[in-house]
Amino acid sequence: MAEVQQSGGDSGKKGHQKKMQIRVDFTPMVDMNMLLITFFMLCTTMIKSQTLTIALPTNEKVQNEENMSQASADDAITIIIDAKKKPGPTPGTLVIDSVNGNVVNEIYYYDGKPGGDAGMFGPGGTVLSANNNLKKSDLLSDEVNSVGDHKARGIRQIIQERNKAVLEKVNELKKQLNDGKFGSLETKDDREKAMAKYNEEASKVRKDENIKKPVIIIKSTPEASYRGLVDILDEMQINSISKYQIDNITDVDLVMLDDYRKHQQ
């Protein structure tokens, strides 16, 4: 491992100590270090998880009903997440994405009350298909054109249309932020300060009672995947929706879903 070389030879004076050159071979040391590095690299989590905070109403039934009647005004939108199922005589097998192995979710929505003002059921409990106001939508990301402008598609476009008043004000604030009206954006500290100010203003706008904004009720069938729920909650955040709730799916919703599918085939 270590090598001792004698330099010169014996041409020097006698009695003078010979100069020794010591070389240590570090190759095994490097090998070992590399192994340790590999171990640590594989065992660490570099990316920290993110979190999404949600607040739900209490489970007390009375309060829940109050919320419902409040939400069944004109500005209520109900979004229903359902898992895509294979067509055929035995429904129930879920469609699995062949690329990433995920459950495929479908997004439906309706405005106001289920079935409109007339309701879904005729006399004797018959289903009135004509009243079905359920519409299918998709979860799509923005379309970006060559100039770099974003254009919302799918359910995002629908939500944005309803929340136009709030979004306009928020976008205005965003522009002000970029123009430096909330303070300079030079250093990291400044940027954080400006962001905090902006967030405060934006949340004021989102919660402003004087601006017309929708109330979104999120429902999900039992088969739909958790991912769909998080995706929809994301849309709430992206589109500055301040009023939304996660609610239990009702029989009427299921009837509407069934009815919708029947007429699609």
């Binding site: 071979d25 190759t27 590095i37 920290k48 979190t51 998080v230």
Partner: protein, 242 residues
């Protein structure tokens, strides 16, 4: 005629510099690494645009498997008074009291050794009735492996149930064990944790993206029942973002 003399050069490469670099890298990784804690179920969290960072301290993590099993993990203060070990002991004692109040006929109790084992656990989640047996495993040879197997559901003994009992039908006056654990954590005496749970940052649900809504709803519903209305969902950052 003299022959051309080819100088014999040594092939020795000086590895000192290389060694320096590797040691530096190694130091970096050692200092920045946080080890993945062992979990009974591997889950891939769904992607979200939320950029809020996860809390490192004072958080009770609810790990949900796609089958509906639930385990808890606790991360606590860095303070000595409420270290992980102290906190867990307090939690277990609190939980035992809550459990025995409801199951007066067959109460559970733990030996100091079992409590000690509990304080060192990572994720935990077996029914209280089996908790004693589970904790005693630590004294056996290869006990830790057996405990991991039990939690992962690979135990050969079919009686060994993994996951905290949690039901769809739940009421406030007859809480199930999952609700009791959450309540026990809330009242274990650590003010910081109680406050974090009140703010909603103290309870985090970690579930796989393909878990059905039915399972997630059951967990949420249980939390709502005990008025833990605010909580967080663990997500991964969506590539591309907004």
């Amino acid at each position: 005629m003299g022959r051309v003399k080819i100088a014999r050069k040594s092939t020795f490469i000086d590895m000192t510099a290389m060694s320096d670099v590797t040691v530096l890298l190694l130091t970096f990784f050692m200092l920045t690494s946080t080890f993945l804690s062992k979990e009974p179920a591997t889950v891939i969290t769904p992607a979200s645009v939320s950029t809020e960072k996860v809390q490192e301290t004072n958080v009770l993590q609810v790990l949900v498997s796609p089958k509906g099993q639930v385990w808890l993990t606790m991360n606590n203060d860095t303070s000595a008074q409420w270290s992980n070990a102290n906190m867990r002991k307090a939690l277990l004692e609190n939980m035992t009291a809550l459990y025995n109040e409801q199951h007066k006929n067959n109460p559970v109790s733990f030996t100091p050794a079992q409590k000690e084992t509990f304080s060192k656990l990572g994720a935990f989640g077996v029914p209280m009735a089996q908790m004693g047996e589970f904790l005693s495993l630590a004294d056996e040879p290869e006990g830790l492996t057996k405990m991991d197997e039990w939690l992962a559901g690979e135990d050969p003994n079919p009686k060994h149930v993994s996951g905290i009992p949690i039901f769809k039908e739940n009421t406030e006056d007859r809480p199930n064990e999952f609700q009791m654990w959450i309540k026990a954590a809330r009242t274990a005496g650590n003010e910081n944790l109680s406050q974090a749970m009140k703010d909603g940052m103290g309870v985090a649900i970690k579930a796989d993206q393909n878990t059905s809504f039915e399972v997630i709803h059951m967990v949420m519903d249980n939390l709502q029942t005990i008025k833990q209305n605010k909580f967080t969902l663990l997500t991964a950052l969506k590539a591309g973002g907004e």
